[in-house]
């Protein structure tokens, strides 16, 4: 199962990158996301409530990142376990690139879902994933726009400069965790292909 797609965000790359660094923004953008926690050097944990048709469950997702090329690309592997509802796993390659008037975010993901979610939900997965994905981008773009002026002057610029390398490193990790959550969404979508 494979999926590829892209989105245009009308802010420059640094702004999008910075917004992706803000866990609060991301948590509000991912419907059902309850928490994002770092559990290891390259590992994060996310709790997310999701419903696919008759299957409703709290998914405990583990995200592992690699091949980071800040601020343009990375590879994220993820496994999500919904207990008796089933599980999902996969890999996502995400890229940001500047484009006239903003930034284009591209993603390529391959994923598997298993268990009850696959058995009774496979025909519903696409609809659910499209809805979650649409909600993520709508909400994310709205928050980016609200938090930064339209001329693209990055508010966080000075702060970013003032933070220690450790802080930046930590924030960066949260970026990947958040995009991992997006990947999980994408994964539902991909499951129907």
């Amino acid at each position: 199962m494979k999926l590829a797609g892209d989105r245009f965000i009308p802010r420059e790359q640094a702004v999008v990158w910075a917004a992706l660094n803000d866990p609060a923004t991301l948590r509000q953008s991912i419907q059902g996301c309850e928490s994002l926690t770092r559990i290891g050097t390259n590992e994060f944990q996310m709790m997310m409530l999701a419903a696919i048709g008759p299957v409703r469950a709290r998914f405990n997702a583990k995200l592992t990142m690699s091949e980071v090329q800040a601020p343009t690309s990375y590879v994220l592997t993820f496994t999500g376990n919904g207990g008796a509802a089933g599980f999902g796993s996969g890999k996502a390659h995400v890229q940001l690139e500047p484009q006239s008037g903003g930034t284009r975010m591209r993603y390529e993901a391959s994923a598997q879902v298993g268990g009850k979610m696959a058995q009774v939900g496979s025909r519903l997965v696409q609809g659910v994933a499209e809805k979650l994905s649409e909600q993520f981008f709508t909400s994310f773009v709205a928050q980016v726009e609200a938090n930064s002026p339209p001329d693209g002057a990055p508010q966080s610029g000075p702060h970013e400069a003032a933070t220690s390398p450790a802080d930046r490193w930590y924030r960066q990790r949260r970026v990947w965790a958040a995009v991992g959550a997006l990947a999980l969404v994408v994964m539902f979508w991909a499951a129907s292909h």
């Binding site: 089933g86 598997q112 298993g114 268990g115 696959a118 058995q119 009774v120 496979s122 025909r123």
Partner: protein, 774 residues
């Protein structure tokens, strides 16, 4: 309908051949049926099965600690518990049909222990006060599995990179070979093609269910919910549970559909009785639809490379093929039948002098496979009849004429077909006029009048006609037993070792007994299925109840009459052989008569009968289909479908017609709709009836069946042939030929089922990008 009337045994109101309404129906339609889930017992507990969600992996641990503390939970049993209770032994489920020592290593254990091999593989069973509590607790059992590379299809199985059974060293347990004549025979015309049929199965209305009770004081186990083969199931259960066979009673309830799938021995058939014995309480288990689709036997998934060699005049010289059957993760009770029957039956009703067919089993990480109505024959008929249409077209011969030239002729009967190995079996067609069935089919269908529609575009849709000829094997032995008891009330009770899985067997048995005893049907009561009724019985499979069970009724009737003669002799003042038993079992001699009631003392007059046979029957026929295909949507409308089948002798035209129509409908489901889909990792994606599409009455309203009894089988005294599977057998072939004919102007043809709108649409699209031979 053209049922033959009974001849010499008949009395005034000959019952055999009459369209008698089913006795069973009144009770069932009033809601008075008693299915497993209608049973309730004092102190009854409920079971839920914990199943693997991983297709292939090492079972690291099964943590029951949390589940066991949940409300209402009485016990959770894992593989370790079973092994401990049974003294270190983990029972596996043996093959019921055609067992071989080579196949034993692939039997399914009653619970997964070291490895899980498919999504749905049972790993534990939870027992609780209510079904809901059991299900909740089952979800709380933590199963830790270390995933292994999945084997999702037979191609992966053949690569042997990941092995389901490491000790065997291969995912291919066995290859069956069917052969006749010279495998290398040459001919001027040869065509080779690949075809496949998708995984699908029977979906009975009533899902599987069991109620097990353990009587510790008597050491007796009673299991309600047995179906299909209760005596065989008892034998297996006794062995698994270390009990003598006569300490187990299998009770048959009403059964909401069998079709080969229901009533075989599954892991639950051990687990539920085991739990009842451990807890000393009645335990009930009913599967839900998701479990039913996931855990009951699957079937039909096969692919083939097949070659047909012909003379220029269309006379078939040789049929060669290599095929693979996707068996799923284990070899189940009836699993050997589909590959074996595909091999031996692939040549169908045709006289092909040279045959060589290899069919290999391949193991994959999917649900295990068993028999489903017309096993191996539905698939084989699709493969063969498609290829024959292609050959007829290449040679410029009309498809009806092509078949006419090749069908086995009356003068060739009994006709020996290919011999199967390694468990060698020689096989003969018992008799019949195959050509006559074809002629009747094309006549009643109006083939000649419709021929001008072939490939025509009318109002945007392309019309096509298709044809398929077939045989249907039936009447599996080794024997059947019947006991008749004449009571003081003048009623006869008929006990049979056959089983009722919803096919109307009670009515048909009463009809046969009625004629054999010259007694009205109303005076005959039929009892069947449960192990409490008979010492031995062989159940309901391979269309055997009428042929084998019915013939045993004739034998028992003869013996009952002899017993009546003996009882009447003294009272009539003559020897037993001078007594004549007339209608209504009235004994007479020299003008004096005695009613049967007067002969019965304190105990009923009892007679046993048996029929033993290793000769199968072959019902046969032809089917024709007329379709209209919309190239824009890929939708196929079935405008007409007609099957003509000769079943040797029609006992009840009404139930026979029902069998035929029901079989056709299931065949159409397989041809167009039904598909048990797995993803490329072995995850199951068809766990509800919204995902697994079954045909409904409105999908295919135009279906017709004519079932005749023109050519009785010489293999049994009734002259009957098994008639339960025939309807389904030719459907895929006939309909796929019709769809391919409709699409002939696009230069494409059907090579695989199901013919979903997406599939047909893609075929049409493919013709626009590449030229392919039809």
């Amino acid at each position: 309908m053209n049922g033959k009337q009974s001849t010499k045994e008949s009395f005034a109101a000959g019952a055999v051949g009459r369209a008698v309404e089913r006795f069973e129906d009144v009770r069932l339609l009033r809601g008075e049926g008693k299915f497993v889930d209608d049973l309730h017992r004092e102190g009854m507990l409920h079971a839920a099965v914990v199943r693997s969600a991983v297709p292939h992996g090492r079972l690291i641990s099964v943590d029951t600690a949390h589940a066991i503390g949940m409300p209402g939970v009485r016990a959770v049993f894992t593989a370790e518990d079973v092994v401990r209770v049974l003294g270190g032994r983990m029972p596996t489920i043996p093959l019921r049909l055609i067992p071989m020592p080579e196949l034993v290593p692939f039997e399914q254990p009653v619970l997964a222990r070291d490895k899980v091999r498919y999504v749905g593989d049972p790993v534990a069973i939870v027992i609780a006060d209510s079904a809901a509590q059991a299900e909740d607790a089952a979800e709380a059992v933590l199963v830790d599995i270390d995933p292994l590379a999945s084997v999702p299809d037979r191609h992966a199985a053949c690569r042997n990179e990941s092995l389901l059974f490491e000790a065997h060293g291969s995912n291919l347990p066995i290859t069956y070979t069917a052969s006749r004549g010279d495998a290398d025979a040459k001919a001027p015309y040869v065509r080779r093609e690949k075809f496949s049929v998708q995984r699908h199965t029977a979906v009975s209305m009533e899902a599987r269910g069991l109620l097990a009770e353990w009587d510790a004081a008597r050491g007796m186990l009673t299991v309600a919910g047995a179906a299909k083969v209760p005596f065989s199931t008892r034998r297996t259960l006794a062995r698994c549970m270390d009990l003598p066979e006569d300490c187990i009673e299998m009770i048959e309830q009403d059964v909401g559909g069998g079709f080969g799938v229901r009533g075989e021995f599954y892991p639950e058939d051990f687990l539920v009785p085991f739990a009842a014995r451990q807890l000393g309480r009645p335990v009930k288990w009913i599967e839900d639809r998701r479990e039913n689709l996931l855990g009951s036997n699957h079937s039909r998934e096969m692919d083939i490379e097949i070659e047909l060699a012909c003379e220029k005049d269309g006379r078939m010289v040789a049929l060669r093929a290599t095929a693979w059957v996707d068996m799923g993760a284990y070899l189940r009770t009836s699993g050997a039948i589909p590959p074996r029957t595909l091999a031996q039956g692939l040549s169908g009703p045709y006289d092909i002098p040279n045959v060589h067919i290899d069919v290999s089993m391949s193991l994959t990480n999917k649900a295990p496979v068993g028999t489903y109505r017309g096993p191996g024959r539905f698939e084989g008929t699709f493969f063969r009849e498609r290829l024959m249409d292609m050959a007829a077209r290449d040679l410029g011969i009309d498809p009806v004429e092509f078949r006419r030239r090749n069908l086995v002729k009356v003068s060739q009967m009994p006709y020996q077909i290919a011999t199967i190995r390694p468990v060698e079996q020689k096989e003969w067609f018992d008799g019949g006029d195959y050509g006559a069935a074809l002629e009747r089919c094309v006549t009643e269908f109006g083939w000649a009048a419709k021929a001008h529609l072939q490939g025509e575009r009318i109002n945007g849709r392309y019309h096509g006609l298709g044809l398929a000829c077939f045989v249907e094997g039936g009447a599996a032995g080794p024997r059947e037993n019947v006991r008749l008891e004449l009571g003081a009330d003048g009623l006869v009770s008929l006990f049979t070792g056959s089983a009722n899985v919803g096919q109307g067997m009670e009515t048909v048995c009463a009809q046969i007994a009625s004629d054999a005893l010259a007694l009205p049907m109303e005076k005959i009561r039929v009892f069947h299925g449960s192990t409490t009724l008979m010492k031995a019985g062989f159940g309901a499979f391979h269309s055997r109840c009428v042929v084998v069970g019915g013939s045993a009724i004739l034998d028992a009737a003869t013996h009952l009459k002899a017993a009546l003669c003996a009882a009447a002799a003294a009272r009539l003042g003559c020897t037993a052989d001078a007594v004549v038993i007339g209608d209504h079992l009235v004994a007479s001699f020299n003008g004096k008569t005695i009613a049967p009631e007067e002969l019965v003392g304190a105990a009923p007059i009892t007679a046993e009968g048996t029929f033993e046979s290793h000769k199968h029957t072959y019902a046969y026929g032809a089917a024709a289909a007329h379709v209209a295909v919309d190239p824009k949507t890929g939708h196929v409308e079935l405008l007409d479908y007609l099957m003509v089948e000769d079943v040797g002798r029609v006992i009840n035209p009404l139930t026979m017609h029902g069998q035929a129509i029901g079989g056709i409908m299931q065949g159409l489901g397989g041809a167009f709709l039904e598909h048990l889909v797995y993803d490329d990792q072995g995850q199951f994606l068809s766990g509800s009836l919204a995902d697994y599409l079954l045909p409904s009455a409105t999908d295919f309203p135009n279906i017709r069946a004519i079932v005749t009894g023109d050519h009785p089988s010489p293999n049994n005294p009734l002259g009957a042939k098994g008639g339960g599977d025939g309807g389904v057998v030719p459907v895929g072939g006939a309909v796929a030929n019709a769809v391919s004919a409709a699409l002939s102007s696009f230069g494409v043809g059907v090579h695989s089922l199901p013919m979903s709108p997406a599939h047909i649409w893609k075929l049409v699209q493919s013709s626009r990008t590449e030229a392919r031979p039809a």
